[in-house]
Symmetry: C2
Subunit: 488 residues, 2 copies
């Protein structure tokens, strides 16, 4: 357990050692005679500051340190002002004045903490403000050189803060911005894997499937869960990153958060796709198999685009948007043309649909058998409450056994309701492409505002083709030379 926590992220061990080191250094203020003479008893406040301010990432430490500094200074000023006002009143007046001001400042600053903008950026600062204000104001009633003491304490705190900043910025710094960047890349990769695994499993023969996989170790589930759960982490990392000096002039952290949101919307579609797998109602395998190459192609393209985008972000370079987009669309077009070429749907208008329906029923002699099978999936809904599981019931296995023989028959009649689940699956894939477009736009925007470098293709061949003509189209012309000739 102890080992695992460190193995998962070795920076944790480094951070722990950093805290230990910082505390030891700060304790020297107290332990070493010359240093103690300089700072005195208040050295203890430096230690308190280190414990409270030194956080995992540099951004968080900076945010806390600056919040602490700002809060302390503001509180000191206000306390000084109150002290000035209250000093003129008598002993009793002084006490009443302090009581009232403590009440008002306490209530007001607590209320302030509910403002979303304050809560997001300055919550800790307000707490420190309130703490320091109370400390100084209350003490001032009995101690008369309170401002002198406060001054010394602020100095000690400044030493503590300075040490924290040094430790977090210079000694093995852990940047929240880098973290945000890396988690964004890993989210892309996880989602790519998830979608591909999902489509792969959809077209897999359930008989050959490994049933033992637990839901918690499911690659599909783990992939999109990482994306779904990322909201608060992303936001806090972006918040901390915005305090960090490094890259600050060119890293639009909020764009990462927006990209995360776009990715999350894609992940919702992945969840819905996963739902298609887990649903008890399934389109028969032979029908699914008709569209397998095209659907797999689309999912592969989605995964590849996601992986390419991840690479692009990782190396901070711009991928040519149209290249990715064109590949997606050609895959989509091929799925579309297959969908259009295969099944045909007949609608009966209200006024006279009956005769033709009857003739259909006559013409397709397997109708009865199909109808008998077809009523199954929706009847099965009733069983959901008992077992909405992925284990395939014997009953449905038998159904699947029947299918291949049915498809051998000249023409097969299928209920709309039976094709429904596959239609949903295909439609969700299309929807996933649409949302991926949105993700690509956000990546484009990120690349623009973070000044990513232009992507330079590694393969010389590709760039040559680009020089020759205009990318994809010129390749098409080369392959069909005769036709290209006449066109030119």
């Amino acid at each position: 357990m102890v080992w695992l926590v460190g193995k998962e992220d070795p920076r944790r061990a480094i951070h722990s050692l950093k805290v230990g080191l910082a505390l030891t250094l700060v304790s020297f203020l107290y332990l070493l005679e010359p240093l103690f003479k300089g700072v005195g008893d208040n050295a203890i406040w430096a230690a308190i500051t280190v414990v409270v301010v030194l956080e995992f990432t540099a951004g968080a430490t900076l945010s806390k340190g600056l919040n602490r500094g700002l809060g302390t200074l503001l509180a000191g000023s206000l306390a000084f002002f109150v002290e000035l006002m209250a000093g003129k009143a008598g002993k009793v007046g002084h006490a009443i004045f302090i009581g009232i001001s403590v009440f008002l400042v306490g209530a007001a600053s607590t209320y302030l903490r509910f403002f979303p903008w304050i809560k997001k950026n300055y919550d800790y600062g307000v707490v420190i403000f309130l703490l320091t204000f109370n400390l100084i104001t209350i003490s001032s009633y009995r101690i008369h050189d309170v401002l002198f003491i406060a001054q010394k304490r602020v100095c000690a705190m400044a030493i503590g803060c300075g040490l924290c900043l040094l430790m977090s910025l210079l000694v093995f710094p852990i940047w929240a911005g880098q973290d945000l960047h890396d988690t964004t890349v890993s989210k892309f990769q996880a989602l790519a894997k998830s979608i591909q695994a999902c489509v792969h499993e959809y077209f897999q023969d359930p008989d050959n499937k490994v049933v033992g996989a637990e839901s918690s170790e499911d690659p599909i589930y783990n992939g999109y869960r990482e994306v779904l759960d990322s909201k608060s982490t992303d936001e806090s990392l972006a918040r901390f990153a915005s305090w960090e000096p490094r890259h600050c002039y060119r890293c639009p952290w909020q764009q990462y958060v927006q990209l995360g949101a776009a990715l999350r919307y894609l992940a919702y579609t992945a969840v819905a796709l996963h739902g298609c797998l887990e649903s008890e109602i399934q389109t028969p395998l032979f029908l699914r198999a008709l569209f397998k190459p095209q659907c797999t192609k689309v999912s592969e393209e989605i995964s590849e685009v996601l992986a390419d985008l991840a690479d692009g972000i990782k190396n901070r370079c711009h991928r040519p948007y149209n290249d990715l987009s064109d590949r997606l669309h050609s895959a989509l077009q091929s799925l579309n043309s297959t969908l259009k070429s295969q099944p045909r749907l007949f609608l009966n208008a209200e006024d006279g649909g009956v005769p033709l329906r009857l003739s259909h029923q006559r013409s397709s002699h397997c109708q009865g058998a199909a109808a008998a099978n077809v009523s199954l999936p929706f009847l099965k809904i009733d069983e959901w409450r008992v077992k909405r599981v992925r284990s395939w019931s014997k009953d449905s296995d038998q159904r699947r056994m029947l299918r291949p023989t049915l498809s051998k028959i000249f023409m097969t009649s299928l209920e709309f309701s039976e094709a429904l689940p596959f239609a949903a699956f295909a439609s969700l894939l299309v929807e996933a492409v649409a949302r991926l477009e949105h993700v690509m736009e956000e990546v484009e925007e990120l690349g623009r505002s973070a000044h990513f470098q232009e992507f330079v293709a590694n393969e010389e061949t590709k760039s040559k083709v680009v020089i020759n003509g205009d990318g994809g189209r010129s390749r098409g012309k080369l392959s069909s030379h005769g036709v290209g000739d006449s066109a030119e």
Copy 2:
């Protein structure tokens, strides 16, 4: 702005006043002579404790207060032990011993904070432990009655903690458990509205639609967003609630978190349904209209079941599970039978599909016109990158104008690809019902483990029927008396 924050949740104003009051009370320790004589200078630590410990909910305050107490006690014990060990060494040995122990304890306890279980429940306690340990150990080098001072400070802190607990438990207490309960109810209601609005909009004529609605004020979006974003809030509320004494023996807060997760899964389906609305590819309105009553019925049932569940949770009573479930299933059955009765899908087997397809093309004379229209939706994919918006292009308006005339024709041929979006929509509705079942199970589980009361119907009629026979079935018998007679 100031007004809005308070209006949104008046408890915020109450909490602010409570903090002000608590601070004033604690400042009396310093301001009033008799109290000051008892506590002395250390009264200031009581004020610090109040600022840091008094949180919005009672659970959070308890959690922080107990963490603080525990951390302080443990740190005190360890510091005492270290002091005992170090005291035997000489002056220099003492300093070295302190330095090493500060380093080790600092590194170890920081590492401890990365353990998920510690991070979740005792993060603040570990910080306080580290703080107090350093305070005592470092001070002990120069101050010899440090344990006496520490004792006095702990007393002052105990006073502060006690005041905080009194304030948060007795004066207008805000229970995290109640909050969790209420937000769960409101999530159900929001999701119910969202799904109903979504289905309603799907079947609405785009011409009559109000286009002006912004995405941020969209009832659909707002409804499911509340659920989607609830994870971290739920978890922290459950964590705080588990510290609260009230109902603690019978409120399974983790069950609320699980219920929230189930609800979130339903919300993902709502997002996908919303995606169907926003998609550029749309099934023609006349086809959608065929299924409008059934789909609307299903969505209404979903919303009603959600609202009923919300009511049940709100009033802490058990709804009879089967009643809700039966209603859902009858709606689903009616959708299913409509889906089955309406369109029919013909699959061409590879070996000989051509002849019949040709005959179909001959028989349906509107084929050409339909195909021309039909190729539109997928061509439109290319335009996505330009405008993936909900505003309806003129082009698609014209398409929709054409549809009604087409449906007048005796029989209409439709491409599979054109029915796809509706199929996805219907399938998602079915999926939503499946996930709702899961939500119902979780509510059932919640009701069981929280010992909700049995639901007693308000309408006397209903309870009478229940007494007469066995619920729904007996009503069926009464209405068809003649048939019922023969059956009995």
